[in-house]
C-alpha cells in the first residue's frame, strides 16, 4: 500500500468537478485552500503583519545591498572616513576605529547574521522534529532515552554549552551554526512529541496501519503533514533565538573573524573602547538591527501560533 492516501474519501467538501482530477492535484488544491485559510486568519493579527513587514523591508535592504552601498569601503585599506567620526551627512552613523562607515557595516552584517540564524534554526527544528517524532512513535526505552536527552538539553544553560562547543571545534561560521543547532533543538522536540502523540491517536492513522502502512509511510505521509504548521511556527520563533545566540557568541569573540556580523561589530565596538569614548553611533545601529529582526521573527511566530491554536485567540 504505497500509493497516495485517498484524500477525496476524507474531505466531505470535495465536489463533483474534482473527481476528474488526479489524487495529487486534489491534495495540492486542498493545501492551497488551507494556505489561503491560514493567510486569511494571519492577516487579522496586526502584530504579526507588522513583523512580516519589517522582515520584508530588511530582506530587501539586505539583498539589494550591492546596488546602493560600496562593499570595498569595508576593506580596512579603503576606509573612507576618519577615526571614530561622529554622525555626519556623509556617514549617517559615523565611522569605526579605522574609518569604515558603520551603516555599511551593519547592512552587510545582515547577511551573516540572517544566514547563520536561518540555517541554525532550520537545522535545530529538523533535529527536534525527527527526535520528537521518534520519541512519540517508538515508545519504550527509545522514547525514554530520547526524552531524557531532550530534558537534559532544555535544562542546561544553552549559551554556556554553545560556547564550549565552539571553543572545542574552533570558531567559524559553520561551528557556530552547529553549536546553536545542537543547543536549541530540545524545545521543538518536546512540542513535536506531544503533537505526534495526539495525531497518532486519530482514526485515519489507525486506518493506515490497518492497511499495512510501515513506520516510514505513517510518519512522512500522515504525521508530518499535520505537524508542518506547528513546526513552521516553532521554526519562526527559533530563528529569533538563533540570531540572538549568534550575536552573543560573536560578541564573546567566538565569531568568524573575517566576516562582519552584528554581534561581531558590537564586539569590535566594545574592544575599541567605544563605550568610554561615548561613541553611541557605533553601537546603536547593529544592536537595533538585532532587536528589530528578532522582534519581527518573534511577532510572526506568535501570530502563527495564535492562528494555529484557537484557544490563544481569546475574545477577538
Amino acid at each position: 500500500m504505497r500509493t497516495e492516501p485517498q484524500p477525496g474519501s476524507m474531505s466531505g467538501s470535495t465536489n463533483v468537478t474534482t473527481e476528474l482530477k488526479s489524487p495529487r492535484s486534489i491534495v495540492w488544491a486542498r493545501r492551497r485552500a488551507s494556505l489561503a485559510d491560514f493567510w486569511r486568519l494571519y492577516r487579522r493579527q496586526r502584530a504579526g503583519m507588522v513583523g512580516l513587514a519589517i522582515l520584508v523591508v530588511i530582506t530587501l535592504l539586505t539583498v539589494l545591498a550591492p546596488w546602493y552601498t560600496d562593499e570595498s569601503e569595508l576593506n580596512a585599506a579603503n576606509a573612507p572616513g576618519g577615526r571614530m567620526e561622529s554622525p555626519s551627512t556623509e556617514f549617517w552613523f559615523g565611522t569605526d576605529q579605522i574609518g569604515r562607515p558603520i551603516l555599511t557595516m551593519v547592512i552587510w552584517g545582515a547577511r551573516v547574521s540572517l544566514q547563520v540564524g536561518l540555517v541554525a534554526a532550520v537545522l535545530a527544528v529538523t533535529l527536534g522534529t525527527v527526535i520528537g517524532m521518534a520519541a512519540a512513535h517508538f515508545g519504550g526505552w527509545i522514547s525514554w532515552a530520547l526524552m531524557r536527552l531532550t530534558d537534559w538539553f532544555i535544562v542546561l544553560p544553552s549559551l554556556v554549552l554553545a560556547i564550549a562547543l565552539v571553543i572545542a571545534l574552533g570558531p567559524s561560521k559553520l561551528t557556530i551554526i552547529i553549536a546553536i543547532a545542537l543547543t536549541s533543538w530540545a524545545g521543538t522536540a518536546r512540542l513535536v512529541r506531544a503533537q505526534t502523540m495526539a495525531i497518532e491517536g486519530r482514526p485515519y492513522l489507525e486506518r493506515a496501519r490497518a492497511l499495512g502502512a510501515g513506520n516510514w509511510h505513517q510518519m512522512t505521509r500522515h504525521v508530518l503533514p499535520n505537524l508542518m504548521p506547528l513546526v513552521l511556527a516553532s521554526a519562526t520563533l527559533q530563528v529569533s533565538s538563533a540570531i540572538l545566540a549568534e550575536a552573543s557568541l560573536s560578541f564573546l569573540g567566538l565569531g568568524d573573524p573575517s566576516a562582519f556580523s552584528w554581534g561581531g561589530i558590537l564586539e569590535r565596538a566594545f574592544d575599541a573602547g567605544a563605550i568610554s569614548a561615548g561613541a553611541w553611533w557605533y553601537m546603536l545601529p547593529p544592536g537595533l538591527a538585532i532587536l528589530l529582526v528578532v522582534l519581527a521573527f518573534t511577532l510572526c511566530g506568535r501570530a502563527m501560533e495564535v492562528v494555529l491554536n484557537p484557544r490563544l485567540r481569546g475574545n477577538q
Binding site: 544553560p157 554556556v160 558590537l266 546603536l284
Partner: protein, 366 residues
C-alpha cells in the same frame, strides 16, 4: 481469636507468612486512612527517588560531556599554556608531562573521574591557582548580581503579568506584552552598553564598571555596602530587563488559563471586588505553573549573567568564564561548565519536588 487481639496490629501485615486468614484480618482492623497514607508515602518516596536518580544521571552526562568537549576535541592545551611563542620539543614535552597529556585517553579519563570525586579540579593554565579557589572567590559576587536581578525581574514580572492577563485585550495588556517582547529581543550585552553610555558616560549617575570604587579595600562596612549597591544598580537592572519578559508572558498566559474557571465566577458572585478575586483566587493558582517554568528558565539566568558581567566587568563567575574563553583556559572553563550545568540541574530537581508539595492536583494524579 482472642490470641490475635493481643498481637499489635502493626506486626501482622509484615508477618503475612503466618497465614492468609491472619493477614486478612489484621489488614481489616487498620483504619482505611492508614493504608492509604502508607501507600501515598511509598508513592512519595518513589517519586523522590525518581527525581534524584534522574538528576544524578543528568549530572553524569554533564561530567562525561565536559571531559569530551574540553579534553578530547578541545584545542591544543600546550599552546594555551605556552602562548603563541615558538617552543622547543623539550619544552613542549615538559608542558605535556605537567598537564598529564602524554597519558593514553583511557588513563586521562580515569584520572578525571578520580579528580571529580575528590574535588581536585586542577590548576588554571594562566594563574596556576586552583580553579576551585578562583571559583569560590567569585561565586558570592555572581549570587549577589543574579539574586538581585532575579528578584527584580520575577517580582515585577509576575505582578505585571498577572494584571495583563486579567485584563486581556486592554491597552494595558497590549503595551505590557509589547514592552516585554521588545526587551526580550534586545541582546543583553547591547542593552548593557547603551545603559552605560546613557547613565554612566553621559549623565554620570553610576560608575561605569566593576563592583567597588578604587579607593582601597579598607573601607568601613556601611560605606562599602553603599559603594557596592551603587555599582550594582546598572548591571542588576540590565540583567533583570532581559529576563523580565519571560515572567510577564508566563504569568499572563497562566492567568488566561485560570480565567474561565468556575471558582472565579463563584468568587465574583460572592460580591468580591475584582481586585480581590484576582489577588486572592486567580494569582495563587496561576503561580503554580509559573514556578516550574521559572525553574526551567534557570539556565537562561546564567546566560544573562555571563553577558552582563562581561559588559560591566562585574567580578563574578560570568566574567571569569569570559576571561577563560579568551585564553582559552581549559581547566577553568571545564569547572565553570560543570558548575553552571550542575546548578541548573539541581535547581530543576528542587523545583520539581517543591511543585509536588505546592500543588495537590499533581500529587493525586501521580
Amino acid at each position: 481469636m482472642g490470641n490475635l487481639s493481643t498481637t499489635p496490629p502493626s506486626v501482622s501485615p509484615s508477618g503475612g507468612a503466618g497465614g492468609g486468614d491472619d493477614a486478612g484480618y489484621s489488614a481489616g482492623t487498620t483504619p482505611p486512612g492508614g493504608v492509604h497514607r502508607s501507600a501515598a508515602r511509598r508513592e512519595l518516596w518513589r517519586f523522590l527517588a525518581g527525581r534524584v536518580s534522574g538528576a544524578v544521571v543528568s549530572m553524569l552526562l554533564v561530567l562525561l560531556s565536559a571531559f569530551f568537549i574540553f579534553r578530547v576535541i578541545g584545542g591544543d592545551p600546550v599552546r594555551a599554556v605556552g602562548g603563541d611563542s615558538p617552543m622547543t620539543p623539550e619544552q613542549r614535552a615538559e608542558i605535556e608531562e605537567r598537564l598529564g597529556l602524554n597519558e593514553p585517553l583511557r588513563v586521562q579519563f580515569w584520572e578525571y573521574v578520580k579528580d571529580v570525586f575528590t574535588l581536585d579540579w586542577g590548576q588554571s593554565y594562566v594563574s596556576s591557582a586552583q580553579v576551585t579557589d578562583l571559583m569560590w572567590d567569585r561565586l558570592p559576587n555572581t549570587l549577589l548580581l543574579t539574586g538581585t536581578a532575579l528578584i527584580l525581574a520575577a517580582g515585577l514580572g509576575v505582578w505585571i503579568g498577572a494584571r495583563a492577563g486579567w485584563r486581556q485585550g486592554s491597552t494595558f495588556e497590549k503595551t505590557q506584552v509589547g514592552i516585554s517582547l521588545t526587551l526580550w529581543s534586545a541582546p543583553t550585552f547591547w542593552l548593557g552598553m547603551i545603559v552605560i553610555i546613557v547613565f554612566s558616560v553621559r549623565l554620570d549617575l553610576f560608575p561605569v564598571n566593576g563592583m567597588r570604587s578604587a579607593r582601597g579595600g579598607d573601607q568601613d562596612f556601611l560605606p562599602d555596602l553603599l559603594d557596592v549597591a551603587h555599582h550594582l544598580v546598572l548591571p542588576a537592572c540590565t540583567m533583570a530587563a532581559v529576563i523580565y519578559a519571560q515572567y510577564v508572558l508566563i504569568m499572563r498566559s497562566s492567568i488566561l488559563e485560570e480565567r474561565g474557571n468556575d471558582y472565579l465566577t463563584v468568587a465574583k458572585a460572592k460580591g468580591l471586588r475584582d481586585d480581590v478575586v484576582r489577588r486572592r483566587h486567580a494569582v495563587p493558582n496561576a503561580l503554580l505553573p509559573t514556578v516550574t517554568l521559572i525553574a526551567l528558565q534557570f539556565g537562561a539566568i546564567f546566560n544573562g549573567a555571563l553577558l552582563t558581567e562581561t559588559i560591566f566587568s562585574w567580578p563574578g563567575l560570568g566574567l571569569l568564564f569570559y576571561q577563560a574563553i579568551k585564553i582559552p583556559d581549559i581547566p577553568l572553563l571545564q569547572v565553570l561548565f560543570i558548575f553552571f550545568a550542575g546548578t541548573t540541574i539541581l535547581a530543576n530537581m528542587l523545583a520539581d519536588i517543591i511543585y509536588r508539595f505546592l500543588d495537590p492536583r499533581v500529587r493525586r494524579s501521580a
